[in-house]
């Protein structure tokens, strides 16, 4: 039985199998699979079941399940869906007007029909960490999404996946005020927690009664007290305070100090990095901190390495050039090379336009002399690691989400097109139906978006044809 008859058979069985087994099984058969976890596989097959990759290997070794829907593209290259490590686009607006707002959640701000997500999908980016902007001190809680789905719930990959903290001052503030507000936020948290413990020990129950009055749930874990954990500071005796009785305005801060939520720290200068690292250390969240670095921050890379943050995210300036005032020579630092040599996990970030997407950043890295594998990792497995999702996305491996992009060629070539995108096994993007891209690339005006030439009725047609006779 040849492949096409298998395809026909599976197509015929597709309905039955979906009904009978309730699972969705996909087999994607391509000319080459760049897994980003080992050598590329020629003539490879990726099997996906219920959104997860169940097997990857050469066609000769992989048995396609009888109920799998087969997608055959022998001329295309499968590449992991790229991962955008931190973006502030695709939201209603990126920033709050209040300084400390960890109680907010971008779930209320993410706009599923924003063109941004369409643009990301078109570029082959399948996982995005959406965090608030840098014009804040402590921002609301961000989330990891996929660029498909018409509701935020459908887009969600990880809710509450991090909080943006800006060390670089927001507009109109000095660094001193910025840092004072930041330090005070954590100092205030500590005072409040100590107060709660004191109240509990004194037998007062104000917080609990307040929480009940607000209708907060005291069921299950929330109803219990739990000793505080964390590597920074600890308030002894917090187990006496039910977690639900702690004001939800400061609970996310407690999550930061207890190391339960990632922190994305915006630092535009080396001095910001040093302040940020110090505050992260004091409050015990260094290990789950990711630094968003400005072009000069490579200067404190040793301190970053020593601090042991989870990773860094580079801006689109990949090469930093500096001219010493009295020397004629430029000092040029290629940032990806620098961080790779220091052994600091890093991710590239896209500027979210056709010409500045993640693949282009990776290509620029190669142009600057960065090893090709390092550059490709910096848009796939690298950002997955940085956002703490390396067990789920970033490579084409058994057990991970079935996120893959089918390319017409080399991932870093200008001529390569993103043909299809699969997210969790579902065909989510098909270039042949992308009318907006066809308009941009081929000048094909999408149907129904422009007025047709008016049809003028030829009222003299009869006379003329009569004359001809």
């Amino acid at each position: 039985m040849n492949i096409s008859s298998i395809t026909r058979l599976t197509a015929a069985l597709a309905l039955t199998s979906a009904v009978a087994f309730g699972g969705d099984s996909h087999a994607i058969k391509v000319g080459k699979v760049i897994t980003m976890a080992g050598e590329p596989i020629e003539n490879g097959i990726v099997l996906i079941e219920s959104g997860r990759i169940t097997a990857v290997g050469p066609a000769s070794e992989i048995q396609i399940p009888w109920d799998a829907e087969v997608f055959e593209a022998p001329n295309l290259v499968a590449f992991p869906g790229q991962v955008e490590a931190c973006t502030s686009q695709g939201m209603d607006r990126a920033n709050e007007s209040i300084d400390v707002a960890p109680f907010l959640n971008v779930v209320d701000s993410v706009d599923p029909v924003n063109f941004f997500y369409e643009e990301m999908l078109r570029a082959g980016i399948t996982t995005l960490n959406v965090q608030q902007g840098n014009s804040t001190v402590i921002a609301g809680r961000g989330m990891i999404v996929k660029p498909s789905g018409m509701t935020v719930a459908a887009m969600t990959v990880r809710p509450e996946a991090g909080i943006k903290i800006a060390i670089t001052p927001k507009r109109g503030k000095s660094r001193a005020v910025q840092l004072m507000i930041l330090r005070e936020a954590f100092a205030g948290l500590r005072r409040t927690l100590e107060g709660l413990v004191q109240e509990a020990n004194d037998g007062n129950d104000h917080a609990r009664r307040e929480a009940l009055a607000q209708g907060r749930d005291f069921e299950a874990e929330d109803g219990k007290g739990r000793a505080m954990t964390g590597s920074g500071w600890i308030v002894e005796g917090l187990e006496a305070v039910p977690r639900a009785s702690i004001d939800s305005k400061i609970l996310p801060l407690l999550a930061i100090v207890e190391g339960r939520i990632s922190v994305y720290m915006a630092c535009s200068t080396p001095m910001d990095v040093l302040h940020g690292l110090e505050i992260a250390k004091e409050n015990g969240f260094l290990a789950q901190t990711v630094l968003l670095l400005g072009p000069t921050c490579w200067k404190v890379s040793d301190e970053i390495k020593a601090a042991g943050v989870r990773g860094v995210i580079l801006s689109s300036t990949l090469e930093h050039t500096e001219r010493a005032p009295f020397a004629e020579e430029d000092t040029v630092t290629v940032l990806p090379t620098h961080f790779a040599e220091k052994g600091i996990p890093f991710a590239l970030a896209s500027q979210n336009s056709t010409t500045e997407s993640l693949w282009f950043q990776a290509a620029r890295c190669v142009a600057l002399g960065v090893d090709r594998e390092v550059a490709l990792a910096a848009i796939t497995s690298g950002p997955a690691e940085v956002i703490g999702l390396s067990s789920e996305v970033g490579t084409i491996e058994k057990g991970k989400h079935g996120n893959l992009v089918l390319l017409s060629g080399d991932p870093l070539s200008l001529q390569t097109q993103v043909r299809y995108v699969f997210i969790e096994g579902e065909l989510t993007y098909d270039r042949t139906t992308d009318t907006r891209l066809q308009h941009l690339m081929d000048g094909v005006q999408p149907e129904g978006t422009s007025a047709d030439e008016p049809v003028v009725e030829d009222i003299h047609e009869e006379e003329r044809t009569a004359g001809d006779k």
């Binding site: 040029v332 336009s353 056709t354 010409t355 500045e356 282009f360 290509a363 620029r364 190669v366 142009a367 600057l368 002399g369 090709r372 870093l412 070539s413 200008l414 001529q415 308009h439 941009l440 690339m441 081929d442 000048g443």
Partner: protein, 405 residues
């Protein structure tokens, strides 16, 4: 500026080789694994010898001598036919709508660091035009983007190129100081219609002045030279309506028997919409930088396969970065984008070297890497225009303006 004597000596040198009587010392030697001599012409392991700013010889199959610059690929210095490095509005002569007897040469500031930035992106020759706030703004000039900071050292003798515009810009902001325009003949154009009228009036008057000496006016000789085809006209026309207007202008002059204009459309973003006009008159187009969203100046829309479509129709095109030097805007990036839009490598190379050289009439001096040509080279660490390659060095008139690290 070519010094004729020098040019002759170069030719003689080339003829006399391989046994010149007293070989001049080689000023600079550059080596490349792949030398793109001209579009479609590659020399492997080429050694380029440079003397007095010119390419003295190109030797194939050589290995890099010690101390010579050696890179993966070398191509000719790029030529931007719409580089837009001008002092801005101070270069706009405001006394008339149609200025034909001034040249932008006098307003060039070679101390502007923008020239260095441009040269370091591999653009070694550029057409500089007056800003488009006049209908006809005067003569453009072809210059080298680096070299001594003097006009005579930088100007390249090419075609005489007059500059004009159709569209929004020449009428932008034109309103009388007070009240309404009182006289049809005494106002600057305030609409696109007025711009078009100014173009036709200028050539009509010039044609009349050839027949009636009394009708002679200042600058009419230049317009007559345009009608005779001796002066090329670069017309900025973004939208298809403006491109059509330019072509109609040419055809009207022909129909009236006044002459035949030699027009090049600059910033012809919408040339793809009604290419039949350009095919009909054989009009070349300089394309503006590729826009990420397709949208450009004056509400024009340029899809990324514009280059492919126009070349397929036999329309001559050059690419331009409009003088932008950012990593994603510069001319080498535009060539890459054109390839993304369907051009072959050789076509893209032609669009930034030999084609603009022909449009500017400087193809005998720049645009290819052959002996006797200016020693303008772009040095790459990989295949030129590829997203994974970088310009690592630039040589302009034999001087290294960007040194490979």
């Amino acid at each position: 500026m070519i010094y004729p004597g020098f040019l002759i000596s170069c030719v003689l040198f080339a003829l006399a080789s391989p046994a010149p009587e007293a070989p001049k010392p080689v000023d600079l030697t550059v080596h490349a694994e792949y030398l793109h001599v001209a579009p479609g012409e590659v020399v492997r392991n080429a050694l380029i010898q440079i003397q007095e700013g010119k390419i003295a010889s190109v030797l194939p199959g050589r290995s890099a001598p010690d101390g010579a610059l050696s890179v993966h690929s070398i191509m000719a210095g790029m030529i931007d036919a719409s580089a837009r490095v001008t002092p801005g509005l101070v270069a706009v002569e405001q006394s008339k709508e149609v200025i034909t007897n001034l040249s932008v040469t006098d307003s060039l500031d070679f101390f502007n660091p923008a020239w260095d930035r441009l040269a370091r992106t591999g653009v070694t020759t550029a057409l500089i035009a007056p800003p488009d706030y006049n209908v006809v703004g005067g003569f453009s000039v072809v210059v080298k983007t680096s070299g001594p900071k003097r006009v005579e050292a930088r100007v390249v003798n090419g075609a005489s190129i007059l500059r004009g515009a159709i569209g929004d810009l020449p009428s932008a902001g034109n309103s009388p100081a007070f009240g309404r325009p009182t006289n049809f003949y005494a106002r600057r154009p305030t609409t696109r219609m007025g711009v078009e009228w100014e173009w036709r009036k200028a050539f009509f008057d010039a044609a009349q002045s050839a027949r009636f000496p009394d009708a002679e006016f200042e600058g009419a000789d230049v317009l007559r030279a345009c009608l005779a085809g001796d002066v090329r006209i670069f017309i900025q026309a973004w939208t298809t309506a403006d491109i059509r207007t330019a072509v109609y202008l040419d055809e009207e002059m022909q129909a009236e028997g006044y002459g035949d204009l030699d027009i090049v459309i600059d910033a012809g973003a919408e040339a793809w919409k009604e290419p039949a006009f350009l095919v009909r008159t054989g009009t070349p187009v300089v394309l503006p930088p590729f826009p990420a969203t397709g949208r450009l100046g004056e509400r024009a829309f340029m899809p990324w396969d514009t280059g492919r479509k126009l070349i397929d129709l036999g329309i001559m095109i050059a690419l331009s970065a409009h003088g932008e030097t950012g990593l994603k805007e510069r001319l080498s990036a535009q060539a890459g984008y054109a390839i993304r839009g369907g051009l072959t490598f050789d076509e893209a190379l032609a669009c930034v070297t030999t084609t603009p050289a022909r449009l500017l009439g400087v193809e005998k001096q720049v645009g290819t890497v052959k002996s006797g040509m200016d020693a303008d080279l772009v040095l790459w660490n990989g295949a030129p225009f590829s997203a994974t390659s970088n310009i690592v060095g630039v040589v302009a008139s034999g001087e290294v303006v960007l040194t490979p690290r």
